[in-house]
Structure formats: structure tokens, C-alpha cells
Subunit: 382 residues, 4 copies
């Protein structure tokens, strides 16, 4: 029922359309985009270069005081003029429409930029080349000055592609309570998801289907009263979570929000779905890992002492709406993965190990009796 | 500078005004209040009985879907008529004004009711008699049918009073950054708090001073982007917390929200202030306990890569407002404690031990090879 | 290099040799074994019934005071006489020799008995029928009075078999430091393990190869000085653990020792290897899950400030010896799994979910305002 | 019953006997001791300088393989000759006898040296001056080259002394089960402890009383079968711990073993006793803090399914013996504190905050999008 993931067509001569996605508000990503587009124009004139226009930022919600001292930098006029001549500017909506005809994505920025790239491709994802500008990225990035070599190798097809699995999340309004087997849940979700494929991440009355790179989060609203969430696996009640929230994460997401909530590190090649509670009102709630073949369903509890309340749903750090007790969030594996260009010498595993050691500072030892090491001899009394 | 806590005048003949506070929306607390008021009227006619009118409930925020199936129970007409004849109905605001002339509080309900009682008394608190109606209370309650004995003993002065410490929390707008010693912070807070004493828990521009029974919570707003909070102790930077939120809790509050966030159990007689992070973006953030004499200051970080954002502040489960980067939340010990009538035979400690074992199910062992116990003999091979 | 696991030949007419393994020291397992052997003799006279003789118990180590009050129960003479007539008594060593010709194992006891069964079969494992005698077992057991039906169905081949994966652990003396790639480590381990296959769990100078049902534990010796352990994945240094010990667990073992050390729950169908530290001397050591294809190597650190010391190695709760800094413990997936007869109606997953909920009391909520539930109406003020 | 702690007589002119304690096996501490003794001899010739002789190291237990490559450094002959002329060499036993007439202790080494100093003084402790030789110490140390100034100030009485509380631990053989109130336990412990004061830390049949700087540890023996420990507070059963072990720690010890076991950080000025389990066989065992006035009693469980076994008892990292089910370990506050000379400008609190931040790397944030900070403007789209 859930189709096998599409492995993106091998790169090679076919690199006719490249999408640049940059971290907004950072002049260096603007400069880098301009340089890269100019280079592409010159070296690979047959390639169309698309540049995603950042969405206009929301004004802050009323009542939220902002930092008055926060100065607005002047945009880099040169870079903008250069981009206007070398690229085609496209909105997020246009990117979503063109998705199947984009052959490579260049991400200029950090984790947030990669999550945004993921959100743009709700079907198959073209290979992503991730470049760091002082940022540190959960997908191992190249340095920006390496770009000519990296892109030339991509044109030659001489690159190594690794994958990150994504989950699929369905927010379904008025989900019947009668679905108690894996089969009926899957059938129902499939029936509702027709046409929902590739939906943009908006608060919608229609069923919503989204790919998940890091995690789905179901969380209490700001009034600090706990959420009560029924959690089902393959249609069977697993547990009722009374908590601030629940995280359903991919292995990639195990180093993101789930980690902060106390979850374990899960290597990206382990095919699992991670359930991590946020502030559970129980001493005995421990993170749990389920097989990637599981279908996990979350629903605000509709009976019992706690009045049922609506809950916030977020995917990959973006608030996508609220669910009422009759609605359900169904999550399962088998989403289209994100392919990314990795260093020829570094396997996916080595990258990940470096990331948890260097970036997350996993198992950093205390400052030890460092300097004494060479000189100490515990087997001698003097 | 912070005055020593006032121990409430001993009970005894002076029991001339009793306040009844009940859990709203629960017909049994209405019935119990009516019975108690009738009994008081008959047995102790010189005592004035006040009944706090529950505040009108807020309508749900727009966009929040509520459970349509949730039926409205019919209020108990008899009980209401009886109360109208035996009590003086008072609003929360009127209770706050009368606070110093109330000699005993009867709490009919659970933890939420006790927290509400605490919020009503921003100065000295009269002794609280807590009665359970099927609820379980963090202050050890009496059964409702025990009330005549308990109240008669209170009239006779033959009761045992235990205490729960409260912290004091100041929300101060435009807090100067130059306060870097314990003395200057305390002086500044005192100067700002003049007249703020006993302020109601509203979102206010003026400085706000509140007593804290469980905890102060500073938390990110619903958009799931992490908060960055500077945390100072006695004016010195302790740490910068990048997290969903920070909890500053009393020992009483150690079994509330802090516990859910992973904090330790702290016996109510330990004079400490507990700092527990919520979903810290760090592998090495561990709960920490500071002396009750510490002054802890929280402030949204105003510099650095993360844009400063406003944060939600809650006290004892009630959202009291937002703080912008220039504002500060200062918390210290020495608040007026909550005295409560306890069972003659049960010390505060025994109560607490029973509570963590029976209610929180602390250290519940797994289901063991139970039935085999008597019969197994590990020292024999047969 | 590591051969694919052998799925045990389908059951059916071929049930010619059954092994009974019982929990020693429990008269009820003796009684049950006698009843079952008598029944088998009568109903299936062509089947040879083996009964494993419990190994003689070690005397307590000198200096360890034992409980003088602990009475020795009289062995059940009737049951022993009956068994003498219906079974062939075999030692553990004899079971190991016969292993390939045993068609079914009946386990009478709890988790310890199942772990012992696992240790008896260092190659392919015949299906295990697990019977509870008041015990609770991590493999879902049948009630002892169900045995005729269960065994008859096994004879008819009408049973459902589920699997639990096992890891393989090699203790290798004088492991060269030059093995830094997955390939060289695997080659070296394979060369050393020749003939070590099926080794009994003894402290041995020769290389030792053992199947692992729950976990491998490397732990400091009783003097409470921390261990320092180099941990490699596929030949590359992952981390240096300064800790009381390290656990390398199967998903099955995730609910055993690893859980006590703070590890996550891992569903038995997730193909992963779990690394959980015990009392790490670091604030930032978090459990981590690696793909089942990983090869994990542990070695006492031989340089640095801490004097290298020998460490205790245990497999599935049995102390198997010590490793010095030059020795290494290599662990990888792909061991022969343990097949077990499960209830026709219960999938492996449902069994596991029941186990974590009912036995481990996962996510037990606090005692709530239980009785009030029906009566409370949070949307009304009265 | 437990006497109030003796505050050591103020320093000043009375500095007539100084004890040097050094980390054994470290040539630098030998050199430093020689320099300091020479200086003292010259500058303060009336002071007697004692140097504790390190106890002969135990040979490793049989069967424990040691690192053959571990070379023995040549002792520094010059330093030894110089010490022989300037100091009186004393054994640990002699230090214990002289304890009351020692006016200052100089600790040359790290945490282990400080714990050893604590163990030498089972009654009042003279002020300790802690000097670091590249080591990092939980009591904030001076640099070794600062010693003339520090010691001169000590002679002038111009120093600031801070305190660390110690617990007292009694190991009592054949503890009657009938002690169920705080009063009877305290009386019994006092009666047994007569004359036990100042006992050396040996495995003894007689009652043993020891001061505790970090923690008392009750732990399973090497065979990895869990311990079952009854834990009482003031004679009342608190819980039965099925675990690898239990830690009863001081606030000072909260950053030692307890931290590794998952315990919270407790500021040294909080008067509490911390209970932290090691690998509890329960999902719901959480560290707990009790008032310093509590009396905590630990005893191996003598009934129930698990055969009672002896347990290892360690104090401050030193194995002091085993307890059988009839024995009990009683722990309470009010031990003689350890006074130490601290920097004039650094309060005890500031020292501790520096220690948890710099040494334990508490709440270290992840590597962030560091370099981008200045340049990023989240409120702009370009
Ligand atoms: N308390 C917490 O830890 C929270 C974490 N988040 C995480 O942030 C993500 C959104 O990221 P941004 O848009 O950049 O929001 P953001 O600007 O709030 O950054 C969140 C942080 O998480 C890091 N991050 C994101 N994905 C990661 C991964 N897979 N592994 C390691 N670190 C990762 C980012 O680098 C950044 O430091 C969400 O998917 C969620 O996982 C969101 C809210 C709170
Ligand atoms: N994730 C969580 O654990 C959350 C906990 N809370 C806690 O709820 C409190 C407000 O309580 P309610 O108004 O009743 O809100 P509520 O109806 O949301 O109940 C919170 C739960 O906490 C319990 N509780 C409150 N104080 C406690 C204490 N001192 N010890 C043990 N349990 C306690 C209550 O009985 C109830 O089960 C807050 O002060 C906060 O501590 C609030 C939000 C989330
Ligand atoms: N602190 C702890 O939690 C310790 C746990 N163990 C565990 O005990 C196992 C040996 O078991 P026994 O011989 O029975 O020793 P045992 O008699 O010491 O029992 C250990 C406990 O672990 C349970 N257990 C064993 N395997 C389990 C599994 N896969 N899932 C859930 N619970 C399980 C047993 O039922 C028993 O309650 C070891 O493999 C190790 O996992 C061993 C020592 C300490
Ligand atoms: N897994 C663990 O964390 C273990 C910790 N220990 C601790 O070691 C102590 C004995 O210390 P050593 O004789 O030096 O043994 P050791 O040489 O085994 O060192 C133990 C480590 O704990 C540190 N340490 C000791 N006391 C400390 C404190 N109060 N705060 C912060 N760190 C502290 C030491 O600097 C050293 O890094 C014990 O009292 C116990 O607390 C002992 C065994 C295991």
C-alpha cells in the first residue's frame, strides 16, 4: 500500500536543472549563491539555475515584544544584481511544482536549510549537495570553497550518494475510532491521502500528508496543562501518554529534539521509529524504538478525567496546525529518502560518528588530572 | 532585605473567619461545601464562613476545537440554595483583600485547589485543612467525612501544623544588565517590588511579585524554536540554557513539573531551590539544587546567533505573561510558607514518603517471578 | 564472512528428541518435568526425552557470609523416581554435543532458564516451548497446564515460530592494535575463532566465541575504581568510556540490564546493537544504537593517566572471565537466532508490547484524581 | 546524641605542626613536598613538618593480569634526601593518633589525595590547604608556586576557611530488626559505636564508624546478579532497592560517583543527604534528597524470592568490607566537616559553580552555527 521508495535517477550528463536553497537573512549565503550561479553559468551554460526566493517572514504575533536593538543589515546589492542575471527566481510553491524536474539541490546553510529542502520535496528528492558557511550540518557538508570540484564531479557522475530515511505523517480529521488493526488503519490512511501527496505544510481542513526528516511533535498548547495522548501501534493501544508532548522521530531526528528530551542516539542506518516523550507525568516512561514497518497513531485522549484539548502538531520544527480529539496523526516509514552527496572517503557511518563526537560532544570526559598523566606511576609508592 | 517569614498566629479561640475553597466543576465539592457550611453554622455560629466564587472560565482561544460531546452537568440546586443561606460569597479579589483576617482555609479538592489557595495568599497564609473527595493531594488530606472532628480540634487548638516553604518570584521589566552581585540584585528587586506585594497574577506592565508553591516556569512559545535563557545565581552567570524551558522549583514542586522533566525528588524539609531544564539542547545539562539563600535570575538571552524572543512565564501552572529580553525573572527563598493541618500521628516526612511511594509509584519493581518465591531454593540443585 | 543464520528445520513428524530444561531449586519445575515426561512417554512413545541435570552449585566464595536461616527443602522423591524412569539424564556438556539432534526444547522456569537454554546452543537452536510456573518470562510463556495441547500441536507442525536475534561475542587474547578497518577486524576474529565454535562458557586462554541473548557486559572489578574502555566500531575509535562498565545488548536485552542502566526500549524486530554505559564519568554519555551489521570492539585502555586494569566480562548474566588491556572483546550481529513457539493469536510485537506494559510497568501514570473523573466538569464553574 | 560538629580552633600563631600528604607515585608531588618542607624549615623553623608515608601498595589480586609495559619511574633521589632532613616521616596509623595535634594539612595532589586526607581524620579535621600539580581538585586548589604566600597568610591567621560537610557511616553486625523508630536506631547505633570512633577503614568484626566525604556505596559483588537492599529512613521502610547498588552521598559527593549514576548536582551548602541508585531494576527509581537530619539504614534483604547475598561496602572509593543480611549500614549527618583554605575572593559557591562549569562541563552546548552569528539577520529575507 505504501509504495517502495524511489531511488533518484543516477546523476550524470542529465544535470540540466539545479536548485539553490539558502539560509535567509545571512549575507554570506547570498554571496555564495551569487558566486556559484556565476560559475555555473560560465562552466555549465546548459544548466538552468533556480534560486528559491525566501518566503516573506511572518510579523511577530501581537503581544510578542521584539528586540528593538536588532539592526537590519543592508542587503548585498552586488550579489543580488548578479543573481538576477544568472538565476531564475522561484517561489517555494513553484519549486514544489517543478520538483520532479530538478536534478540537484545545493543547500547553502545549516540544519534549518536542510530541513527546508526536505519540506520542499514531498515526493522523490534529488541529490543534495550541502555546503557549510561556518554552519555545522547534520548532513556532512562541504566547505563552500570546494564547490567547483564537487559540482564538476556531480556533472561527471563521479559522486557517492548516501541516503537518509524519512517518515510519512498524515494528519487526518475525524478519524474513526473503529480502526484497530494495522490493515484497517493503513487502508483508511491511504484512502484519505489520495491527492494529498505533496501538499504544502499548511493548516488545512483536508487531509495532510507530509514527509518527515527529523520528527513529528505533538505538544500541549502554551497554557501549561499537560496533554493526554493515546498512542497506538498498528492499531493496538500502546500507551496513554500524559505529558507535555510526544516526539516520533527518524534516526536522523534522534540527534535533534528527541535528544534534548532524553532520547538515545540512533545511527541513521538503523531502520527504526523512535518514540520519545517530553516531560511525561510518569516516572517510568522511557524512550522506545519500533521497527520501521510500524504504523504509529497519535490522538488526543477523548475520555477520562482530563478535559480533551486541542494539541499543536509540528513537523521538523514547523508548526503545522492543531489536532482536536477526533483527529489523528498517523506516522509510518517508507517515505522518499533524502539522497546527499558525501565525501568519497567518508562512509555515512563515519560521518555520523564524527558528528556525535565533535558536534554533540557525546561522552565528553571531565577535565581529568590531565597534565599528570605521563608522570604518574600508580604502581610505585614514591 | 527579604523579611523573615511570618509564622501564622496560633489557632485557638480566635477562629472567627473560615474560607472554603473548592475545585470548580465538581458537584461533590459543592455538596461537601454545603454540608460543611451548614455544620459550621450550627456548631460554631460565631464563625463567618466565606465561600470563594470560582472565576468565570475563559472561553477557549479562537481556533481551538473543543470536545463537542462533553456534556454539561446540571448544578446541584439544593447545595447552592443551602450555601446561599450559610456562607458569604466572595470573589478571588475580595479574598485577597481580606487575607489577613482569615483564620483557617478549607480546601475541597486536589493539587490544583491547593495551588489556587496558595495563589490567593500573597502574604502570610492561614492554616489549611485539606480534604480529599476521591482526589489525591500533595498535602496529605483528610477524608471528607472526618471534617467535624478535624474542625473541632482546630477550634480547640489541638492540631498539628506543618509547613511548606514557598519561593518568591519577581518579574521585572527593563532590568539593568549592570546588576552582577547578589547585593545589587536584591536591592534592585526590593526597590521595584514596593507596593507590588500581593499583586494578582495578571500580565502586568508594573513589577510583579508572586509566591511560588511548586515552580516558576520560563518556556518557549508554541512555535517550536528553542529558548535561550541566561541563568544567574547571586548576580553571577551560572549558565546559558538553550532549551524548551527552565523550571525553578521548590522541594514541594520537585514532585510536580520538575519530576516530569527528569528532576530528583527533594524532601520538603530540605532548604533548597531546584533548577531543572526542559529539553535542553545539550547532552550535559543535569538538574541542580542550590541553597535556599540563593537569588536566581532568568533572562532571555539578548545577544548571540539566536534572535532574542519573548518567553512565556508561568507560576504554579498558571501562565502569567511573557518576558522580553530586557525583562528579568528573579526568584529567591524566604516566601511566606503554607501551614497545613496534618494528622497527629504522621510527621511531614512520613506523609511525603507515603506520597512518593503510593502516589508517584516511586521505584516500583518489575513483576517478578512472584509466585515462585516461597518454593525456590537456589542453594539446592533439585 | 559471518555465515547467514540457519533457520531450524521445520517441526513436524520429525520430533524425535525433546530436551527438558528446568529452573534448578524449584520443586514445581521438578514436578512439572515429571508430569510432562510421563505424558510424553505415554502419548509419544517414540520420542526420546532428555532432562538436563543442573550443574552442581558453586560453594559461596570464601568470606561471603550466607543466610543461615535459609532452609533446604526436601527434594520431591516421587517426581525424581518418575523422571528416572521416563527420561535420559544428560549433563550440560552432553547437551552441547547432542545439540544438532535435539528437535524441541521445553523450558520450565523464567528468564534465567531461557538464558541458560540459549547458552546451551552455540549453533542453531531448536524451537523453544517456554512454560511459566508462576514465573514471568521475556519470551511469552504458556501456562504449564496447557502443555498437552501445545506439544500435540508441535507434533502436528501446527505451531507458529517467532525469532529472537542473538549477537556473537569473541574474547580474543593479545588482539593486535593494528586492526583499524572493519575488514581486518572481521578477518582476524574469524581466523581466531576457528574451531572455537560452540565453546562452553568457561574462562579460557583460547579464543572464546559465545552467542549472546541479552548482553555482553564489561565491568570494573569490585574495587570501585572506574574502568577505561576503548570502544571501536568497525575498527574506528568511537569513544573512550570511563565508566563502571559498558553493555552491548541485543534488542531482547534492552529490557534487561541495559534498561536498568538507563537504556531505551528496543523492539525485538529492530535490527540493532545497543550500547549503554554503566555509571559513565561524563555528563554527556547517552545510550546509542548501531546497525546490526556493525562490529563493536571493546578493549581496556592501555595508555593515559589511568593505570590499565583487567576487567570482568559477563555474557547474559554469567561471569565468563577477565580481559587484560591486550585482549579484546569483539561483538557482532548475525548469530543463530532463538526460535520460540508463540501463541497463534499473538504476534511477536503484541507479546512485547504486553511485556513492557504489564511486566515492566512502562509509563505507569501516577495515581490520579481517579474517582472524580465522571463527576468533574471543567467547563462549568459550578 | 550525635554531637554537634567541632569547628577547628582558629589558625594563627598556633601553627606548630603541619602534615604534608601527597599523591603517591607522582614525582612532582615528591618534588613539591621537598620544596615546601625546605621552605618551612627555613621560614618557620618552630613548626614540625610531618610527611605521611604512602602505604605499601597491595599486590594485584591473583588472576588479575597487569600491564607488563608499565614502567617504574626512578624515584627522585634528591627530593627524598632533602625530605629525610626536613620532615618527620609518619605512617597513616601515626597520623591518626596525632590527629588532634595537627594544625594544618597540606594536600599535594587531586581528589584522591583529598579523600585520603578526609579518611585520616575521623574526628575534627584541621584546615586543609590544597595544591594542584596539574591536577584538578573538587576543593578549589592553589597553584603550587603560590605556596609561600598561602602558608604565610595561614601563619598570620589571614585566611578564609570554608567547610565541606561529612556524613557518618556505621557498619553494624547483627543489627536487630526491631529498630523501627528514629530514636531506637540512633540509640542502638550510638551504643555500638562506643570506642569505634576513629577506627581505621578495615574489614572488621567490631562495629565500624567512618566519616564520609563523598559517599557510602553498597554494591553487588562481581557476579552480575542484582542486590536487593532494604532502605530505611529514620527506622521506617523507604523502599526496597533491587539494583546493582545504592549510593548515599554528601553534596560534595554529588559530583562524584552519584553523578555518574544519574544523580543531580547538589551545591555543598545545601544540607541534604542524596540517595542515588545504580542500575535499579525498575523504571521508576529516581534519585532523592533527604534532610541532613535523617538517619538512613541499608540492609541486604533477607526474605523474598532473591537469595540473600553479601554486599560490598565502600566509603569514598575504598572497599571497606562486606555486609551480610543481618548486618546494617547506618548513615547520618553531623560528621566533623572538612575546613579548607579558600581564595579570599572566591566564595564557596563561586568555586563550586566554576567547578561544575569548567571541570564537569555542565550544560555544554552543542557546536552551534557559530561563525554565522554576527552576520545572520533572521528578521530580513535577504
Ligand atoms: N528543545 C529542543 O531541542 C528543540 C529542538 N528543535 C529541533 O529543531 C529542528 C528544527 O531545526 P531549525 O529549523 O534549525 O530550528 P532551530 O533554529 O530552533 O534549531 C534547532 C537546533 O537543532 C539542530 N538540529 C536540527 N536538526 C538536527 C539533527 N537532525 N541533528 C542534530 N541537530 C539538529 C539545529 O542545528 C539547531 O541547533 C526540529 O526538527 C527539532 O528537531 C526544535 C525545538 C526545540
Ligand atoms: N508535564 C508536566 O508534568 C506538567 C506539570 N504541570 C504541573 O502542574 C501544576 C499545576 O497543577 P494543576 O493546576 O493541578 O494542573 P494540571 O491539572 O495540569 O495537573 C498537573 C498534575 O500535577 C499534579 N501536581 C501538582 N502539584 C503537584 C505536586 N506538588 N506534587 C505532585 N504532583 C503535583 C497534579 O495532581 C496533576 O496530576 C504545575 O505547578 C506544574 O507543576 C503543569 C504542566 C505540565
Ligand atoms: N542491575 C541489573 O539490572 C542487572 C541485570 N542483570 C540481568 O540479568 C540477566 C541474567 O538473568 P538471570 O540469570 O535471571 O539473573 P537474575 O536472577 O539476577 O535476574 C535478573 C533479572 O532480569 C530479568 N531479565 C533477564 N533477562 C531479561 C530480559 N531480556 N528482559 C526483561 N527482563 C529480563 C530477570 O527476570 C530478573 O528479574 C543478565 O543478562 C542481565 O541482563 C544482571 C545483573 C544486574
Ligand atoms: N563510575 C564512577 O563514576 C566511579 C566513581 N568513583 C568515585 O571516585 C571516588 C574516589 O576517587 P579516587 O580515589 O580519586 O578514585 P579514582 O581514581 O577512581 O577517581 C574517581 C574520579 O572521580 C573524581 N572525583 C572524586 N571525588 C570527586 C568529587 N567530589 N567531585 C568531583 N569529582 C570527584 C576523581 O577526580 C576521579 O576523576 C569515589 O568516592 C567515587 O565517588 C569511584 C568508582 C566509580
Amino acid at each position: 500500500m505504501f509504495p517502495p521508495r524511489t531511488i533518484f535517477p543516477a546523476l550524470g550528463g542529465a544535470l540540466r536543472r539545479i536548485l539553490l536553497v539558502r539560509k535567509p537573512g545571512d549575507p554570506r549565503t547570498l554571496r555564495a549563491a551569487a558566486d556559484m550561479a556565476t560559475w555555473l553559468r560560465r562552466e555549465h551554460p546548459d544548466t538552468q539555475v533556480l534560486l528559491e526566493l525566501p518566503a516573506t517572514r511572518m510579523p511577530p504575533p501581537p503581544g510578542v515584544r521584539t528586540d528593538a536593538d536588532h539592526a537590519e543589515p543592508r542587503p548585498d546589492g552586488d550579489a543580488m544584481r548578479s543573481l538576477a542575471q544568472t538565476c531564475d527566481m522561484v517561489s517555494s510553491a513553484e519549486v514544489r511544482e517543478l520538483a520532479k524536474d530538478i536534478h540537484l539541490v545545493v543547500a547553502l546553510g545549516g540544519d534549518g536549510t536542510l530541513l527546508h529542502v526536505s519540506s520542499l520535496f514531498q515526493g522523490p528528492v534529488p541529490p543534495v549537495a550541502s555546503f557549510s558557511l561556518g554552519t555545522l550540518n547534520f548532513l556532512p557538508p562541504f566547505r563552500i570553497d570546494e564547490f567547483p570540484g564537487v559540482l564538476n564531479r556531480a556533472y561527471d557522475g563521479a559522486i557517492r550518494v548516501s541516503y537518509r530515511d524519512r517518515l510519512v505523517c498524515h494528519v487526518v480529521r475525524d478519524s474513526p475510532a473503529s480502526l484497530t488493526s494495522a490493515a484497517t488503519v493503513r487502508e483508511f490512511v491511504a484512502s484519505r491521502s489520495k491527492g494529498g501527496d505533496g501538499e504544502p505544510p499548511v493548516t488545512a481542513a483536508q487531509p495532510l500528508k507530509l514527509h518527515v526528516m527529523n520528527e513529528v511533535l505533538v505538544h500541549r498548547t502554551p497554557v501549561p496543562a499537560m496533554a493526554s495522548i493515546d498512542c497506538r501501534v498498528d492499531g493496538q493501544l500502546l500507551t496513554q501518554a500524559i505529558a507535555d508532548g510526544l516526539i516520533i522521530a527518524t534516526p536522523t531526528g534522534s540527534t535533534a529534539y528527541s535528544l534534548s528530551a532524553g532520547g538515545p542516539l540512533v545511527h541513521p542506518e538503523v531502520p527504526g521509529i523512535l518514540l520519545t516523550p517530553i516531560c511525561p507525568r510518569s516516572l517510568s516512561f522511557r524512550p522506545a524504538l519500533f521497527p520501521q514497518s510500524s504504523l504509529i497513531s497519535l490522538q488526543a485522549t477523548s475520555t477520562g478525567p482530563r478535559a480533551p484539548v486541542s494539541l499543536d502538531v509540528s513537523v521538523d520544527g514547523e508548526l503545522i496546525g492543531q489536532v482536536a480529539p477526533n483527529d489523528a496523526v498517523h506516522i509510518h516509514g517508507g517515505g522518499e529518502p533524502v539522497p546527499y552527496i558525501s565525501h568519497v572517503e567518508g562512509a555515512g557511518g563515519a560521518d555520523w560518528v564524527a558528528n556525535i563526537n565533535e558536534r554533540l560532544r557525546w561522552n565528553q570526559s571531565f577535565m581529568e588530572h590531565g597534565a599528570t598523566s605521563g608522570a604518574t606511576d600508580p604502581s610505585s609508592s614514591w
